[in-house]
Symmetry: C2
Subunit: 325 residues, 2 copies
Amino acid sequence: MKVLVIGAAGMVGRILSEHLLHTAELGGKPVTQLTAFDVVPAELTSENGVALQIKAGDIADRDTVDGLIADKPDLIFHLAAIVSGEAEADFDKGYRINLDGTRHLFEAIRAQGSGYHPRVVYTSSVAVFGAPFEDKITDTFITAPMTSYGTQKMIGELLLNDYSRKGIFDGIGIRLPTITVRPGKPNKAASGFFSGIIREPLAGQEAILPVEDDVRHWFASPAAALGFLLHAATMDTAPLGARRCLNMPGLSLTIAEVLETLRKVAGDEVVARVKRVPDPTIRQIVAGWPRDFAPDRAISVGFTADTDFESIIRAHIRDSEDVKG
Amino acid sequence: MKVLVIGAAGMVGRILSEHLLHTAELGGKPVTQLTAFDVVPAELTSENGVALQIKAGDIADRDTVDGLIADKPDLIFHLAAIVSGEAEADFDKGYRINLDGTRHLFEAIRAQGSGYHPRVVYTSSVAVFGAPFEDKITDTFITAPMTSYGTQKMIGELLLNDYSRKGIFDGIGIRLPTITVRPGKPNKAASGFFSGIIREPLAGQEAILPVEDDVRHWFASPAAALGFLLHAATMDTAPLGARRCLNMPGLSLTIAEVLETLRKVAGDEVVARVKRVPDPTIRQIVAGWPRDFAPDRAISVGFTADTDFESIIRAHIRDSEDVKG
Ligand SMILES: NC(=O)c1ccc[n+]([C@@H]2O[C@H](COP(=O)([O-])OP(=O)(O)OC[C@H]3O[C@@H](n4cnc5c(N)ncnc54)[C@H](O)[C@@H]3O)[C@@H](O)[C@H]2O)c1
Ligand SMILES: NC(=O)c1ccc[n+]([C@@H]2O[C@H](COP(=O)([O-])OP(=O)(O)OC[C@H]3O[C@@H](n4cnc5c(N)ncnc54)[C@H](O)[C@@H]3O)[C@@H](O)[C@H]2O)c1
């Protein structure tokens, strides 16, 4: 099986690529080739005989995308995106990468003609929803985004459904909760602080909390995100019918609950490194995000989430020690 | 006030343009200029001193659209579209006109900079919804289109909301029911037969009914559509908040009820001209369309619909006689 990962140098892309290189199989089939594409070359090393191609380029350039698809990968993960904060600040860039880039990918697949029908896994976001919310968002809740990022992700979903319905590819969209604890450096996502208030204090650094303690949010761990991607890549998509984009399962916690869990795992001194500096812009973006879900469809087709937040923090501590050690 | 009508040679565009030329005012303000744009030159005549510009071109050409907007119209009606049947048959054309064309318009407005903030009235469709349906579709029902046309209209809505939220223009989207009785010749819309089974028999011709008599559908008259457009052009958009696209009010009837009303107005002989020729393609498209609505939001902000179907048929007969006479 030939696999293409678009956005392979990103947080999720790297975890996914490293996993595929390491296991060299997916759903019982050998992964023979992995093409890792991103604006910057992904730092990956081939393992277990997988032919690794590291390519750098811009999905906003149609020719570049045609070049990637010319090789007819059997499975494509489309993770490349400009995240929420940046898409809100740079209108042009958000549309160019999140909308035009996604369309280039879908059109490049279509240009290969009817003999080619890859599985496409698209990472969407709970930002496709906008206030006012249900207490727990169900699978038929209206998708009314309130940010440019959410708008762009939702347009990608609509295109994915239409291209799949037309038999151009076999698409599935997974609406990721906020991945926490995000390893490495912060990115420009407006949601960055949700990880920052855990990651930085654990590393002995101060972290800024720009919203109130009673803000509720929807979380999944990096390990859960990897599980979602692998399941989306291998599951039977027939039960999805025309609605191929799913709310992923996760955990709903308030900031207060997140900090309480951190206190339990790491103590008062660590939690004291969280500084409250209200930021009206971030607060407004986050107010437009959903807080809790009843992701029945995803669960019914086999997606599984984290069981508790304490395990998420403990796994992060373990993973950071692995990186250091 | 300078008004631009895009799609002015179409059925709705012509009714709207003729009305504006005739009344020469809108919401108490004089209409000083009307630019009528379409692929083909609209057949219109200036009345009451309105400066009429008839322009022909393609909204899929960005330069053409820039040219239209250079004049900074205060009010823009965006009615141009490739309709459902054609967008389903010609994938490229549907995306090029319904998606790229709409984006060109929105981007051309943005390119004028922050001093320019026109009202944009966008005609969307109930095809943004897809089965399974609620019995009566409410204002928060999920928008999950099942055709390329519905997908393209929905993407236009998402863009309209985002551009409006960003203060680029003051947009409002109206999801039109199927306009019946459509005057003139049939178009390529899959919904064309809903008008055909009234219009053709009344004109002494046979009409094809491609679906079953128990198919239920959602209707509004051409006069009601004109009313929606004028109200959308002049109403206060503030109460709409971030969700600027509304289900328009209408009438829900089965084909059997439509034919019974036709029988009441025009007699058995007229109804006998309807021939049942099931068409699986049209049946499948129509099965993916909604049948009934509870359009509370639209009603609460002042949109009004037809009161009964008999009046719709009688108005069509009157209008046809006006055209003949
Ligand atoms: N991390 C989360 O909490 C979260 C939540 C919801 C959705 N998502 C989505 O999941 C995906 C992966 O998230 P992530 O956290 O790994 O994001 P990330 O920002 O770490 O990675 C995205 C990658 O896309 C690449 N990219 C950006 N523009 C590109 C372009 N023009 N051409 C090629 N590559 C480009 C970036 O260089 C980056 O490496 C994204 O689509 C994101 O929107 C993430
Ligand atoms: N009539 C209905 O029942 C109905 C229902 C729901 C939505 N709508 C929408 O309302 C609008 C008006 O409907 P209508 O019935 O008058 O449609 P119509 O087909 O009669 O008119 C559409 C017009 O758009 C023009 N057009 C198409 N491509 C163009 C392009 N590239 N550049 C410039 N002009 C172009 C066509 O020439 C045509 O005159 C459309 O957007 C339609 O999708 C109509």
